[in-house]
Amino acid sequence: MKTSQLNIDMQLTIGRIRKNWGLYILLLPAAVLLLLFSYKPMYGVLIAFKDYSPALGIMESPWAGFKYFEKYFNSYQFSITIKNTLIISLYSIATFPIPIMLALMINQMRVNRFKQVFQTVTYMPHFISTVVMVGLILILFSPGNGLLGNIYRLFGAEAPNLMGSTQWFSSVYVWTDVWQHTGWDSIIYIAALSAVDPSLYEAAKVDGASRWQRIRYIDIPMLMPTAITLLILRIGGLLGVGFEKVYLMQNNLNISSSEVIATYVYKIGLLSSQYSFSSAINLFNTIINFILLILVNQAAKKYSENSLW
């Protein structure tokens, strides 16, 4: 009895797969690419535990255990890279509410023309590439002949060398990011606000709710699910400060506050070809991020109804 039921179930499933063969064709290219270029490298992560030599290959290279992890933990670069990564990352996360505030502000604008122009202009900097952005920073913040230097001289003062000192690095990194991406990052919140039923505002007005109260009791609750999801993802990437911008902003004068895990992995791995060492640092980083993501997601699940899964 039971087996025949199972048989029927299986036949039904096979029938459904056969009927929808077209869908599997659509999935195939993406699945194959991920298998080759995401999952195969995951297997390659084994070299973090080996003394990898390209001549021997991944399998044949001798095991090294946790040698390269210990090497990283004991190196003087360990505390520097972790500290710099955390500072930049936490500083960035602290600016997380800015796009939300911008969206709430845009939502209050009733002059439509102004609103449209404002939105378009605030989105624009997002389209500037990282290379050009860092180029802009270097050229505008140059104390000698840049815009910042000129502004300081207007007041008879000497401009600080923002790019040539260690103390300014994280601020320049974070606030130029805010300048470039706040408008763009607010889009998602504006979209969420546009889903508010207008009759809710009308009802609140009839009840005499002030503008602040409408924001506090209608708009902000509406944004919470989106905000929490994005915050979880941000915290999950705590040790994942992007390579691109930091690497371009680095120079000999600020290196002690600008060397982050990602740039260190690149230098050790590709510039000095210590493949196993670099992979070990990278894997350590990925695992910490993965654990953080799961922890934060658990916490979000416990204290609110919002979570990633």
Binding site: R16, N20, G22, L23, I25, L26, L27, A30, L34, L36, F37, P41, M42, G44, V45, I47, P54, Q108, M109, F114, F118, T122, Y123, M124, P125, H126, F127, S129, V131, V132, G135, L136, L138, I139, G144, N145, G149, N150, R153, W179, I187, A191, A192, S194, K205, G208, S210, R211, Q213, E244, L248, V265, G269, L270, S278, S279, N282, N285, T286, L293
Partner: protein
């Protein structure tokens, strides 16, 4: 509910319908300041690119070009590597965007169908790669093993799957393509592939435009893959060429001294202002074409 009523009462009748209140005025003033903060640096670059570099360096150029010159742009014409980079970037962006869109949107459609057997497992197979990866070196070794290092293909194929975009498109399909449509098409003897190409895609212009813009901007602006996987200067995309002009050389050029060095540095700066304009303009021009879709709630799909 009661507490809300209590706090609301005193505010009764404070709201006037049409006239601007203090807070609204503050909002517009603040917004205007923000506009200046965003627009002025960009405006300054545009003006600096056609001004006498000495005037710019001395702080004499604030609002209008001083001593008009097109030397910066003429200097650009002499640098053939910029134009090779330009050509490469256009190719990578065009081929990469088409390929990436075709691959991701197809997968997204399949994953949006509730009657797909194994949907949960396949979705997990995709999403897992967002949070876990082999890292730089294992990926680099994989690319080398497949003989993709220093080829055209490495710039457009291996990293064309964008799981985030797949999720956005999947959410769009789930919420915007009615399920009855597929039932009806099936009755007419329409297969999955035909249905996808002839019915689903034409109904999905909004999400396709937004994803195309994201992807194209990504290809146009990224330099990481080129830095890691390319060696041949003739394959360099624009961003790597720009990196040399705007960043690597800038750090070197500040080392020289003397009259000639100052003049050379000023010309170099002028060229930098010009190259920023020339390289950023095309991608910014794409944006207005898809702008209308942004506020229609397409992006909300991203986090649902």
């Amino acid at each position: 509910m009661n507490t809300m009523e209590a706090t609301v009462k005193p505010a009764l009748q404070k709201e006037k319908g049409r006239s601007l209140d203090v807070m609204e005025v503050l909002i517009y003033v603040f917004a205007a300041l923000m506009l200046i903060l965003i627009v002025y640096p960009i405006y300054f670059i545009v003006m600096a690119s056609i001004s006498d570099p000495a005037a710019v360096a001395n702080g004499q150029m604030w609002f209008f070009p001083k001593g008009f010159t097109s030397d910066g742009y003429q200097e650009l014409l002499k640098h053939s590597n910029i134009w090779i980079g330009y050509k490469n970037t256009i190719l990578y962006t065009a081929v990469g965007t088409l390929l990436s869109l075709a691959i991701n949107v197809s997968a997204a459609y399949a994953l949006s169908r509730k009657d797909l057997v194994g949907r949960k497992a396949i979705t997990l197979f995709f999403i897992f790669t967002m949070f876990f990866n082999g890292g730089l070196i294992p990926t680099f070794l994989t690319i080398r093993d497949f003989h993709l290092y220093d080829t055209f293909l490495v710039m457009v194929l291996p990293f064309s799957v964008a799981v985030f975009n797949i999720i956005v498109a999947r959410t769009f399909f789930q919420s915007s393509i009615p399920g009855d449509l597929w039932e009806a098409a099936q009755l007419d003897g329409c297969g999955n592939l035909k249905y996808y190409v002839q019915i689903v895609l034409p109904l999905s212009k909004a999400v396709l435009s937004v994803l195309a813009l994201w992807t194209a901007v990504g290809y146009w602006n990224s330099y990481f893959n080129a830095l890691i996987y390319l060696k041949d200067l003739d394959l360099y995309p624009l961003q790597l060429v720009l990196r040399n002009i705007l960043i690597t050389n800038q750090m070197q050029s500040s080392l020289g001294t003397g009259e000639a060095a100052v003049i050379a540095m000023r010309l170099a700066n002028l060229m930098r202002y010009s190259v920023i304009i020339v390289s950023t303009l095309p991608i910014m021009c794409m944006y207005p074409f898809v702008q209308k879709y942004f506020n229609q709630g397409v992006m909300i799909g991203a986090v649902k």
